[in-house]
Symmetry: C2
Subunit: 416 residues, 2 copies
């Protein structure tokens, strides 16, 4: 372990101990101060960002990525408002998850506490710096951030601004630390900072997540890619199916809860495929289907085996015809990424069967998969969508950034 990272680790642990002693009011005061500072010092931030943007342009970054990197007053205001919103949420800390009194008189309660130190590794969007800090800080966690090298100047400016604001409130500024060194070696070392970082959350594309899962010796929460399916059952209301598929596929293309694959029961294939594809074609979506789908509509392209597992994030959708709900469930469980899946049906038994049989973080009846989102679920915040099964599954809000601790009150009990 290099001295550089060990020092960051030690400071993060010390910060987490001091955050643990702050009240919710103290933390909200820190969030409000940080929110104000971002707006007040927006000049410094946009200046740093201009350097990043100039570097990116010189290195030939695509206009779409440069747009994600760019910060203006409006975007800085949005970051600031994000922190204010977090300050207004009620804190999950101290919540009693479970309690019991044992026959020997021991009073046992399991209470929500901060996790401790959270590491976040993310890609180009600099707004994650403020956003991730806000969620971790509200839940009493110190955060160690490692952003992409493209955004390093912007990230440092944002982090420095927040650190100053905390310090002025008398709060330990190491509640947020950002790695100034964005080398791969240092990132790799951060993924192995056992004893200092309690959990690592990668936020970014499939490649980043894979690297973190394979390299890290710390507990990781995988956030997710989504190969989301909509199954149009033989008892589907085709009008609902059309509306929902249109929304889930076309409302926003590049997101993990967008629909990437359609599964249609053969009994309704003729109408469903015709009606749904009419809408999709109107949106310029390419449909890649199996043999039977193409018999219904020759405009459908031929799907290859690899299409069933694809997260397109684009104007493409796959289409499979099945002869039973069981076949639909088996197909979806085989190819999905355990993110979000929906059935369109008016038959309660089939709805029930689908809800039980599908292995995914979120399973829908007659609604768009696009709702898998912390804000849409009413959590008021989101740090990511977990597609793994431990600790957190689905949209992660404040509660998912906490751990628990057993508190046991006795009056001299010993074990017999």
């Amino acid at each position: 372990m290099t001295e550089y990272l060990k020092n960051i680790g030690e400071r993060a642990v010390a910060a987490s101990r001091s955050l643990n002693l702050l009240s919710d009011e103290d933390k909200n005061r820190g969030l409000v101060a940080a929110a104000k500072a971002l707006v007040e010092k927006s000049g410094k931030i946009t200046e740093a960002n201009a350097t990043d943007v100039a570097n990116a342009e010189r290195s030939g970054m695509s206009p779409a990525l440069i747009d994600r990197l760019r910060l203006d007053d409006k975007r800085i205001k949005a970051m600031s408002e994000g922190l204010l919103q977090i300050s207004e949420l009620s804190s999950p800390l101290g919540e009693i998850v479970f309690e019991t009194e044992r026959p020997n008189g021991l009073k046992i309660s399991q209470v929500r506490v901060p996790v401790g130190v959270i590491g976040i590794i993310y890609e180009s969007r600099p707004n994650v710096t403020a956003d991730a800090f806000g969620l971790c800080f509200k839940t009493g966690n110190a955060v160690v951030l490692r952003g992409g090298s493209d955004a390093i100047n912007s990230n440092i400016a944002i982090s420095d601004c927040i650190r100053e604001a905390l310090s002025e409130c008398g709060i330990c500024e190491d509640a947020i630390q950002l790695l100034g060194d964005t080398s791969r070696e240092t990132a790799k070392e951060m993924m192995r900072l056992n004893g200092y970082i309690d959990v690592l959350i990668p936020r970014g594309g499939a490649g980043l997540i894979k690297t973190v899962v394979e390299t890290s010796t710390l507990p990781v929460i995988e956030t997710g890619t989504g190969n989301c399916h909509i199954y149009v059952d033989e008892y589907a209301d085709i009008f609902k199916a059309c509306k929902i598929v249109e929304n889930a596929k076309t409302q926003r293309l590049g997101v993990c809860n967008a629909c990437e694959s359609l599964v249609v029961h053969s009994t309704v294939a003729e109408t469903a495929v015709t009606e749904i594809c009419k809408i999709l074609f109107r949106h310029g979506v390419e449909v890649r289907g199996d043999e039977r789908a193409r018999e219904v509509l020759p405009e459908i392209k031929e799907a290859s085996e690899s299409d069933w597992g694809e997260e397109y994030l684009d104007k493409i959708i796959s289409l499979k015809i099945v002869d039973s709900i069981d076949e639909a469930i088996t197909h979806i469980n085989k190819y999905n990424t355990k993110h979000s899946e929906a059935i369109i049906t008016e038959n309660p038994d089939n709805a029930e069967k689908f809800l039980n049989g599908i292995d995914a973080a979120a399973v829908y009846v007659n609604a768009s998969t696009r709702f898998t989102d912390g804000f849409e679920f009413g959590f008021g915040a989101e740090i990511g969508i977990s597609t793994q099964k431990l600790h957190a599954r689905g949209p992660m809000g404040l509660r998912e950034l906490t751990s628990t601790k057993y508190i046991i009150i006795g009056n001299g009990q010993i074990r017999g």
Copy 2:
């Protein structure tokens, strides 16, 4: 990935899908059948065990370890009764963890579901084979077991017996699979069986756990070593302190919730150290203390820096004198393994301070650390004690072997 492990992984996933469709009654029927079969076929099991014991004797295994390996009718009966007890516990599956209705009419509920496939890597005790199966099966999970090579014949006999019993009940026998190949290479591959195994739980000593954490690309639940402290506060009832330290140190030596270190406030050091050590010496416990402790009692040996972090699992305890509760908290947080820590005090403010300030799975006021245990907490079962902060912290019962799934019921909602 070898074909051998891929095949095991595929069968485990298929088994987990079929377990997911069983009712709690079905599963209890399977547990009862397995419990009966263990007793009925105990001859086969003791025969296989005799081979393991003979091999162990030939290889010069210590008598204590051979005793852990040995199975007789009484121990097989205990395994069988363990399965019956599990069948009588109420299932956490289907429990609604959270529910909400959104303004758009979406009904969202978060329900407990099986994790899927659980991998368990353990050392010599063959009873873990039945025990781990029982807990995983009750919670609807398929289990892939990798026991030590010393117990391989016993483990195969137990696993085969359970598989036959399940099969006779019409339940998928792959609900339990045991690796017949106990090579290190195969174990290492099992730790990287992403896409098949959802979580890996190592059960054994610190060396095994370290290997798993460093090698695995699967989510791991670390179960724990325990360097547990008891802090005797300046407001301690010394009589309670004596009784509790005696129990926590001497009632059972080789367990993770035994007390390994004593921290005493200087104000009460004279009496507390004298009285407590009198009892510990009577039990043959060696006390290793700092300078000030040795000024009170010269029989106390000199502690070195390494003593503060040691989990002795033996008749040894370390002893540190502090001048304040804050110093005690800092010392404990520095050297503990985040397992179980206790304060002995009659002062509610100090109790509160200790409960908030200590970072551990279980924090006690005026009770023995030996209570950190699934049965003592009333869970009716235990798969281990987690010392990490994600998913499960502290004793893990049935609830900790589950995940959750969001179920969303709509009537055509789309995202605006």
